[in-house]
C-alpha cells in the first residue's frame, strides 16, 4: 500500500481493511483520563483537534525521564548527560521514521507547529521573499499558518495570496494553478483543516507547485493523528506538526525540512547548542539539526513525543485511520439526521472533525449544555476566523475525534444535541 496520505480514505473504504485489528476498548484503558468523571458524568472527550489526551506510556516516559534520567544534553561528560542525550536523539530517530524522512538531521525539534511555521517564515521566508513577491496559502488555514506569513510580507513588502475553496470546503485547484507565478516564493497549506476536517490533496498541490519550482510547506498538525504521512512520497519541502495533538506532551513539535533547504537557511534564534564556535568577532553555526535548536531543548517533551509515536505505531496508523474513518462517518450520518443541523465542511475527503450549527442557537450555548453532560466539544472560530467569514458565520460547534472515541460516545453527543434543542424549544 502506498503511503500517499491524500489517497488514504478512499482505500480504507474497502470492507477488508475497515476496523481490522483495532480494539477500541483496549485502547481506552491506555488513557487514564478517560476514566475521570466530569460534572459527575463519564467524560466524553470530543475536543481532540484542540489537544489529545495522553496514554499512560507517554506519562510514564516523561516521569521516568525526570525520576531517573534527567540531565542537560549535548555537553556533559557524565553518565546521565550521555544517557539523556541518547534518549533525546533516539526520539529524533523515532520522528524521522514516523515521517519517513531521509535523514534524522532533517528533524528539528521546536515548541509546536506554530513555532515551526514562524521559523520557516523568518529564515527561509526572509531570505527568499522580497518586494512584490507572493506567499500562497489557502482559505482554510489556521491562524498559525496565516499570521507568520503576514508578518513576513509586512517586513519584506510581499503579498499574501489565498487559494479559494468551494461550498463543501474543498480547495479549487484550478484557481491555485492560476495563482502560481514567478512571484510565488512559497506555498503553505494545511493537510487537514482544523475547522472543517477537509483533507487537502497535498501530493497534487506539491506537484503543481514544484512544476513551477516553488517549495511547499505542509501544516500537518491535524493530519499526523489521523493519517500515515510520508514526507518523501509527498516530496514536501517542509512539514510541521505538534506533539500534543498526537497523544504526546505540549511544548514539543517538529519541523521537517529537506536538508538542502535547511542547510542554506540562516539560523532562527541564537544561543547555546546552535553554535560550533563563538568569538566576539564571529560565530560558526552548528550543523543540522542543532543550528535551529538554540538553548536547552525540551528533552522530556521529545522523549514523550517519541513514546507517543511508538504508541500509535504499535496500534498501526492504517488501523487508526480506518477505525476513525468509521467513527467519523457514523457521527456525520447521526448528527446530520438531527433536525436543524447544518454541517460546515462537507468535503469528500475528511478526517477527525465534525463542525456544525444547530438552528440559530449559538455554538457557545451548545457547548455549555453539552458540558453539563460531560461532553467536551469546542465552540468558537477555532483560530480560523477567515474560514468562518468565508461561510458567513461567527463560530461553529466542533466535535473532533481521536483514536479512543467510540460510536457510543457519538450517541451521547447526539442525545446531548437533542437536549440542546429541548432547552431552546
Amino acid at each position: 500500500m502506498t503511503a500517499v496520505a491524500n489517497r488514504l480514505p478512499r482505500e480504507l473504504r474497502s470492507p477488508r481493511v475497515r476496523g481490522a485489528g483495532f480494539d477500541v476498548e483496549k485502547v481506552r484503558h491506555d488513557f487514564p483520563i478517560l476514566r475521570e468523571k466530569v460534572r459527575g458524568r463519564t467524560l466524553v472527550y470530543l475536543d481532540n483537534a484542540a489537544t489529545s489526551q495522553k496514554p499512560q506510556v507517554v506519562i510514564d516516559a516523561i516521569s521516568r525521564h525526570y525520576e531517573r534520567g534527567n540531565a542537560n544534553i549535548h555537553r556533559g561528560v557524565h553518565f546521565l548527560s550521555e544517557h539523556a542525550t541518547e534518549e533525546h536523539e533516539a526520539a529524533r530517530g523515532t520522528v524521522q521514521s514516523f515521517l519517513n524522512a531521509e535523514e534524522a538531521s532533517e528533524i528539528i525539534f521546536v515548541r509546536g507547529a506554530t513555532e515551526a511555521i514562524n521559523l520557516v517564515a523568518q529564515t527561509y521566508g526572509r531570505t527568499q521573499v522580497g518586494p512584490g513577491d507572493e506567499v500562497l496559502i489557502t482559505a482554510m488555514e489556521h491562524h498559525s499558518n496565516i499570521v507568520p506569513w503576514q508578518i513576513l510580507c509586512e517586513q519584506k513588502g510581499g503579498r499574501l495570496r489565498v487559494i479559494p475553496i468551494n461550498e463543501s470546503g474543498e480547495l479549487l485547484l484550478e484557481e491555485f494553478q492560476k495563482l502560481l507565478s514567478t512571484r510565488t516564493k512559497i506555498v503553505a497549506v494545511t493537510q487537514v483543516s482544523n475547522a472543517l476536517g477537509t483533507i487537502n490533496p497535498v501530493r497534487r498541490i506539491i506537484e503543481m507547485a514544484h512544476s513551477e519550482n516553488i517549495p511547499v510547506l505542509v501544516d500537518g498538525a491535524q493530519a499526523v493523528p489521523h493519517l500515515k504521512v510520508d514526507v518523501q512520497a509527498l516530496d514536501c519541502d517542509f512539514y510541521v506538526f505538534s506533539g500534543h495533538k498526537l497523544y504526546g506532551p505540549t511544548g514539543i513539535g517538529v519541523l521537517y525540512g529537506k536538508s538542502a533547504l535547511l542547510d542554506a537557511m540562516p539560523p532562527y534564534q541564537g544561543g547555546g547548542d546552535m553554535i560550533s564556535s563563538v568569538t566576539f568577532e564571529k560565530t560558526i553555526y552548528n550543523k543540522l539539526p542543532y543550528k535551529f535548536e538554540a538553548g536547552t531543548p525540551h528533552v522530556a517533551g521529545a522523549i514523550g513525543l517519541g513514546a507517543a509515536i511508538d504508541y500509535v505505531n504499535g496500534l498501526g496508523m492504517d488501523n487508526v485511520a480506518a477505525y476513525e474513518h468509521e467513527v467519523l462517518t457514523y457521527a456525520t450520518e447521526a448528527v446530520t439526521a438531527i433536525p436543524g443541523i447544518r454541517v460546515i465542511g462537507t468535503a469528500r475527503e475528511k478526517a477527525g472533525v465534525l463542525s456544525f450549527l444547530l438552528d440559530s442557537i449559538h455554538p457557545h450555548d451548545i457547548g455549555t449544555i453539552l458540558d453539563q453532560e460531560g461532553i467536551a466539544i469546542r465552540a468558537g472560530h477555532h483560530c480560523a476566523q477567515p474560514i468562518m467569514q468565508r461561510f458567513g458565520i461567527a463560530a461553529t460547534a466542533r466535535a473532533s475525534f481521536g483514536l479512543y472515541n467510540t460510536k457510543e460516545e457519538v450517541d451521547a453527543l447526539v442525545n446531548g444535541i437533542q437536549n440542546v434543542r429541548e432547552v431552546f424549544a
Binding site: 449559538h362 457557545h364 453539563q372 465552540a379 468558537g380 476566523q385 461567527a394 463560530a395 432547552v423
Partner: protein
C-alpha cells in the same frame, strides 16, 4: 440539568429569541461596539443621552443566548435612568453574575434571572459584554470593547 435551567431561564431564552430595543437608533448621540472575537459575540449599542440621563437606548448584533438576552434586558433596565444609576446597576449586576451578591440586589428587578450565570464562570463574559459596551458608549470610547 438543574444548573442549566438556572442559566437558561425562560425569560432569558425568550429575550434571546425576541430581543427588545433591537434596532438602530436614529437619535443616537453615542454609539459603541462590543466584540468578543473568540465567541463571535458582536453588538453595537446606540445611546441617546439627554444631559445626564439615558433618554433612549437600542442595540443590534449577534451572539449567544446569554449575551443577547443580557443586552436586551439591560436596555429595558437602564432606559430613563441617569448615568450614575446605570453604573450602579451594572455594579450590582456584576456582583450577581460573579456570585458576590450580598442580598442587596433589590434594584436589579428582572435582571435577577441572571443569577444562574454565577455557576458558569466562563459565561460571565457573555452576560457582561453589553454592560461594558454601555459604559464605553457613555464614556465615548472609540475602540470596540471586549470581555474576553
Amino acid at each position: 440539568m438543574s444548573d442549566l435551567r438556572e442559566l437558561y431561564q425562560d425569560v432569558i431564552l425568550e429575550h434571546s429569541k425576541a430581543p427588545r430595543n433591537y434596532r438602530q437608533l436614529a437619535t443616537a448621540n453615542h454609539k459603541a461596539e462590543g466584540y468578543n472575537p473568540l465567541c463571535g459575540d458582536h453588538f453595537t449599542l446606540y445611546l441617546d443621552l439627554k444631559g445626564n440621563s439615558i433618554h433612549d437606548i437600542s442595540f443590534q448584533g449577534s451572539g449567544c443566548a446569554i449575551s443577547k438576552a443580557s443586552a436586551s434586558m439591560m436596555t429595558q433596565s437602564v432606559k430613563g435612568k441617569t448615568r450614575e444609576e446605570a453604573e450602579k446597576l451594572f455594579e450590582q449586576f456584576h456582583k450577581l453574575v460573579t456570585g458576590q451578591a450580598n442580598g442587596n440586589q433589590a434594584d436589579l428587578g428582572k435582571l435577577a434571572v441572571f443569577s444562574g450565570v454565577s455557576q458558569f464562570p466562563v459565561r460571565v463574559k457573555c452576560a457582561t459584554l453589553a454592560w461594558h459596551t454601555l459604559q464605553a458608549a457613555m464614556e465615548g470610547k472609540q475602540e470596540p470593547v471586549s470581555t474576553e
